[in-house]
């Protein structure tokens, strides 16, 4: 067959056959390749371009956000003074009961350079990396709530596995009742954030807030994760199927804060 084809077509066919063979080979053994290093190199190349492309859009957004932030600042100043007095009262009571005090987590502001994944983003590239003091497993939040955790760290950038990544579950509890569960994204149909492993004996109501339980070392306790919007039964009938609306707007991320973990993830037991 190849002998009857013109030279150019023969070359084209051989080229395509090579591409197909390489693609199939990658599908079969791609998991064994050092993908993280390749992605790191790609991020280094693309980070300046992403910044350049986003500059105009971010400038306009910053202008709008500035007005909104002034309004929120005034409201938060009032709330802050109220919370300071409540905090002092809480400290006094904890001292009397012999309980340890609270520690505010340190927040490192970083910029989002790119989002990847369709239809919902499942990963984001941050503008800071190892040289800025970020570590694998650090929690990533916005003022609204939890965004995800750092899954890969490069020299000057890093990759975040968002809550929408099915492979990034979070140990959580319901704010008002303390019911424990695992929040994970279900990829089937359209991606849905669900509070799983909650038995029928526990009562969970629509509208209740869910935050991190602190049972995993990755996330400090009390970071808002979402709000219950639907409660039903799991298809297997063993546990409840609780659907959450994420607290953070995962599709409109521009800036986030990184909470340094207690220790690098590799060192955690």
């Amino acid at each position: 067959m190849a002998r009857v084809l013109p030279l150019a077509e023969r070359r084209g066919s051989i080229l395509v056959a090579s591409y197909v063979a390489v693609s199939v080979l990658l599908l079969l053994v791609g998991d064994r390749l050092p993908q993280s290093a390749l992605r790191g190199a790609g991020t280094v190349l693309f980070a300046p371009l992403d910044r350049w492309v986003l500059a105009g859009e971010r400038l306009a957004a910053a202008w709008r956000e500035n007005g909104e932030l002034h309004r929120r600042l005034a409201a938060l100043e009032l709330e802050s003074s109220r919370l300071r007095s409540l905090g002092a009262e809480d400290q006094r009571l904890r001292q009397q009961l012999g309980l340890p005090g609270h520690h505010d987590p340190a927040l490192k502001p970083v910029e989002i350079l790119a989002l990847s994944g369709e239809p919902m983003p499942v990963a984001a590239i941050l503008s800071a990396g190892r040289h800025q003091g970020l570590h694998l497993g650090d929690a990533v939040v916005t003022s609204d709530g939890l965004v995800g955790r750092i899954s890969e760290v490069y020299a000057f950038s890093s990759r975040v596995a968002l809550l929408t990544d099915p492979n990034a579950p979070v140990a959580c509890e319901v704010e008002s009742t303390g019911v424990l569960g695992i929040v994970r994204c279900m990829p089937a149909l359209e991606p849905t954030l669900m509070l799983t492993t909650v038995p029928f004996a526990d009562t969970v109501r629509v509208g209740e807030r869910v935050w991190t339980s602190g049972l995993s070392r990755r996330y400090p306790r009390g970071i808002p994760v979402g709000r219950v919007i639907r409660v039903g039964a799991d298809p297997n009938g063993l546990t409840q199927a609780i659907v959450l609306a994420p607290a953070a707007r995962l599709s409109r991320l521009r800036h986030v804060f990184v909470i340094p973990g207690p220790a690098p993830l590799e060192a955690t037991p």
Partner: protein
Amino acid sequence: MRAAVALLVGIVVVLLLRSTALAAFASHGIVLDVLAFATVVWALRHGEAWGASFGFALGLAADLDAAHWLGRHALALTLVGYVTGRLASTLVRESTRTQLVLVLAATAVHQAWTAAFDAGGFPAWPTLLLARVVVGPIVTALSGALVLAAVRRASGRPLFANVSIQPGQPL
């Protein structure tokens, strides 16, 4: 050499578009398959060998970005580029209808293939198929044809070479 540089620039532009401007659409459920669209345009303009090369390189870069299933986009886009490039020599490439149908078919094939890796189980298929393999390709084809028509009108000349000897036109 110039062609290789153009290919690299094309890939970078497509990936930047995908991770910035189009990511906002995707988050609202509107999947514009810029990978399939760019591969079709490249194959229409440069033929099957360059179409397949562009599809393979673009797909490989998209696979690395997605973090799972290396080779998934590369395989589908290689075949899309090759088939479109082969068809390009027998079609009226400047025709908006031709472009619409080609982008529609290429996007449907690409989305069907990639959706097969994303579906969690059989119950998810009807909704996933509707969103990814029906709605996505229609939106991509319509907006792609509009973009090509707008670029053609703005530049004032045909986008694809050899338009003067297309079938149906006097030599």
